[in-house]
């Protein structure tokens, strides 16, 4: 079972639908987290390298569409990466669900 940090899971989630490069990823992560997470570029590439080393993400050039810059480094999540991210994020939502929400409810329910 692959353990992921929250940031790693979010990065993988951001790579799940299509390959993205650095700037797009920062923006996509901000979008997915409702603007809560602005990842620093250096940290992003550090996380990407870690994911790459574990076979969860990979660099790709095959996804080039028209108008995209050849020099850009695109990353995408591997199948294992998508699975790991899904299970990690599902765990979080499971926690929230099973805890029945984390805030105290009014006394009379």
């Amino acid at each position: 079972m692959t353990e992921l940090t929250a940031l790693e899971a979010i990065v993988l989630a951001a790579l799940a639908d299509r390959p993205r490069y650095g700037y797009e990823l920062v923006e996509r992560i901000a979008e997915l987290t409702n603007g809560r997470k602005r990842v620093r570029p250096g940290n992003l590439y550090r996380v990407l390298e870690r994911l790459e080393a574990r076979g969860l993400a990979e660099e790709t050039r095959s996804a080039l569409e028209e108008g995209e810059d050849e020099r850009r480094r695109y990353f995408r999540a591997t199948a294992a990466g998508v699975r790991a991210a899904e299970s990690e994020l599902a765990m979080y939502s499971g926690v929230l669900r099973r805890a029945g929400g984390l805030r105290e409810r009014p006394a009379d329910g």
């Binding site: 620093r40 250096g42 940290n43 590439y45 390298e49």
Partner: protein, 905 residues
Amino acid sequence: MKSLPDRRLIWRVLRRWLPAGFRERRAEAVLETHVALAGGPERARGAVFWIGVARDVLATGIQLRLDGTGGRVGDGTAWREAKRGSRSGAMSGWEALRQSVFMAARSLQRTPLFAAAVVLILALGISSNVTMFRVLDRLLLSPPEQIRSPDEVKRIYLYGRSPFSSEVTHDASLSYPDYRGLTGVASFDGVAGYGTRSLTLWVDGAGETVSAEFATASYFDVLGVRAAAGRFYSAEEDAIASPVPTAVLGWSFWQRRFSGDRGVIGRELEIGKTTYTVVGVAPRGFTGVGISPIDVWLPMHVASAAESGSTAWVDAHGWFMMAAVARVSGPEPRAVEEATVVTRGVREAGRRADPDLRVVLSPLIRALGPNPSRESQVARMLAVLTVLVLLIACANVGNLYLARVLARRRELAVQTALGVSRSQLFAQLLAEVAIVALAAGAFAWWLGTAAAGALFGVLLPDAALPTANGPRVLVLTIVLALITALLTGVLPALRATRVSVMDAMRRGTATRRTLLVRRVLLAFQAALSVLLMVGAGLFIRSLVRAESIDFGLDASALTLDIEIEGGITFGEGLADEVLRLLPIVRQNALVEDAAATSVPPFSGWWGVGVSSPDGEQIESGASGPFLFGVTGDYFAALGLPILQGRPLTDDDTRPGAPPVAVVNERLAGLLWPGRDAIGRCLMNEREQASPVCTTVVGVARDYRPSITGDESPAIYYVSPTHPALGSTSANTIIVRAREGVAPIAIRDFVRSAAPHLRMVKVAPLSDRFADGLRAWRMGAALLTATGILALIIAAAGLYSMLAFEVLQRRRELGIRAALGASSSRLVRSTIAASSTAVLAGVLLGLAASLASGSAIESLLFRVSANDPAVYAGVCAVLLGVGVLAGALPARNVTRTDPAISLREE
């Protein structure tokens, strides 16, 4: 914000922080993403952008290394890996350094409070030195800006009998014939005359005071300066008969007053008594041979003729109107010889022969010449003292580091046990110190830049801020930061590397030798603080003494000066205007008393010899007799008591009134020693042809002529209509305002009552000697500031020392408390050693102050350098601060709970 260096340079430096592999693979992508996030290459600039990138790169670099060490730092893993690397030859010197810096950064990151305290203390120490350097640089080290080979330009002094007193002095004042003689000296490459004064500039009916320098056309040539716009005036344009008066503007004045508009060239400006055409602008930073900003340069001959209304000065040997500089590229002794011969000849021709007169050539920097200002002497002394502040800061930080090393013995021992070599440990600790010192340097740079303006305002209010010493100051800041790092870091780092594993693991009390070093440092700080505070105390007392001098008259009386059509501020028909204005001023409800005078007190003297048919004859000399023209109410307005007889009244001013005079005690005593002066006859030397008897009607009290001068000169007062006064009979109105009336209210009233006056100035009489107080005011302000700074730093040192000791001995104290020791006993035993150290330091400081007192004695005013009150005060302050700094740690001792302190182990 200044433009930052080339982005590629910044980036090349930053990216090196990233570990090699990652750097090669990803660094460019990281930068590109930053650029894209900033909104494209055009926007990816400026400090904010680069600070963001730097933060990211620094944090990422640390995180990547943490990834490499499995997330545990401080346990020696990184070092072990690094060591392994170096054995296999893979770790370069650069890698080792980076490793040291990284470990040091981590270690500081874990104790941010400590790091912040050290940075702050060092920054204060460094910035006070950097700021002081800027002032000294201006005063003593750098010649005025924009001058070509300034070493060749010499100020000309005459060493001989002063024209103003009988003393033998260095004097820079020259008459025009003196100057004309010097222009003939063949060994000079060029000679230029100059003189500075305030004139009124008239633009669109509004006047403002500008600082004008009258300079011969050769001035710019001799100084080798080039015009920033237009040109300088030529020798023809500086001829007395020049049809078109020309002017050159100073750069900052041009910027300030004309917004740097080149269209100002060719424009006519009414300055003083005539109209000049602007022909050029001097370069930026050029302030002539002095350090005060000059607003406008006017051709010496043209402007002198216009302002004096005559050309009499051309041959007047007693009219000392200028100073001069010469450029000497050849052998100096020969030039001095020639100039001396020429000047002696000129003085002889002017019936002022002085066979011992010598010309002295001195450096362009005035503070290095024979007549340095008191300010520059005070600045020198302050420079020494700011170095003391830095030493205190270093001692303190060294102390903090030692404490830290003691506290970290365990961690250091673990590292040693894990195979980190002593040299690596030393490097790491030194790197820690260096990081802190450089951060302090950067902070100090900023602080110093911000404080320089303020310090110049206090020290040299008239000096222009230098524009060109940036690089020197930067270099100095970096050098100081590095020296500080060495001073503070080496000792603790050496101590740290001697930590033995067994010792540290046992965690006993601190080693005795380290504690001893710390106590010595503490004593050293206390001694230096005493030295600084004694200096501050002496200057404060000097200032208080100087400010509370009783001049014998009311220095809060106001002087009211006016300027009339034609730029006239003195003599030449001004009297009519002043005497017309006087009754209007007197009738105003804001005014209690008002009187007109030829010259207000403290503003100059007009010497006229006197005699009496039944008394002595007195020649005019340095201490009088001086003549003042005054109207009625003069003595009332100044609060100057009449001791005998009556004051002058307005009736004495009426045409046809018999000539009468009031003399002061000194003159009465000189003319008629031991006899009554009232009713006697006084004659002045100006009327020798047809002597008129002026009857003495009163004797006024003496007053003090200046801050430093004790003895009153001989003075006599006559009415403005007295024939001896001529055209300079009434120039200024003395006003005693009613309680609580501001000078500006009087000015506004005069302006509205006499709108035809071009300018009205109202100021307290005390302004006329404010300059004399400046050196003490400056010394008191700056010494107090540095003294307080030193005291705060030293108090913080004492506090940290005591707090640390309490912490170290918690276990012991806990046991003793459990065994029933009283808390007062515990407190005593805890702070006894440190208190002894402080006491020893204070005694040492007092001894040092007594020993060095003679060095500043000449800068003090009526205060002995061994003033007991000052010493007592300093001791009291230090005692109080010591008690405060010790109180908190002592309270912690009494709160020690045996159960808790024992459980902690």
